[in-house]
Amino acid sequence: NSKVIQTPRYLVKGQGQKAKMRCIPEKGHPVVFWYQQNKNNEFKFLINFQNQEVLQQIDMTEKRFSAECPSNSPCSLEIQSSEAGDSALYLCASSLSRASQNTLYFGAGTRLSVL
């Protein structure tokens, strides 16, 4: 079973509010991913890190989200100004390395509802 811990499980925000969620990757996993899963089960890659360094992020993440993975602290993903379209399940995953054969282990997710 995955040991990726995500908090909170549920988050309710009004439009324009900040929404922040956290992720503790599995111990010893330096690579962390954030994905957004919408109600149609479509996954959107948001950003990934190796240790504290951003490896890749999409445009949306660069503009409206801020994310970090500080050393010795949980990783976080924050939406600066929530929009209705941001309502989704946000999944954090960690991996032993960037090598493709390594599995991504997912947390239970943070379900964000933007009213």
Partner: protein, 113 residues
Amino acid sequence: AQSVTQPDARVTVSEGASLQLRCKYSYSGTPYLFWYVQYPRQGLQLLLKYYSGDPVVQGVNGFEAEFIKSNSSFHLRKASVHWSDSAVYFCAVRENSNNRIFFGDGTQLVVKP
């Protein structure tokens, strides 16, 4: 471009019956393939993965999948399903270049008692 297609949005089977969930991928390099399961209100759990060797891979809870390169397929199978297998199943491919993972749209499995 890489993509994953799961042609069946929903599959209904009776408990004890055999199961096949279909997955086809499009990827130019060596594919690293995964099946995940998502139970209601939970995250994704790994069922099995393939990246080399025997094309039939065994996973948890009696699941297996077969990589058929000529068909670009990685179908998931189980000999006898249980009601607790009801969930959404996702096929995924992980690419080499930037190690992102791409998911299919999922197949909702309903196991009838």
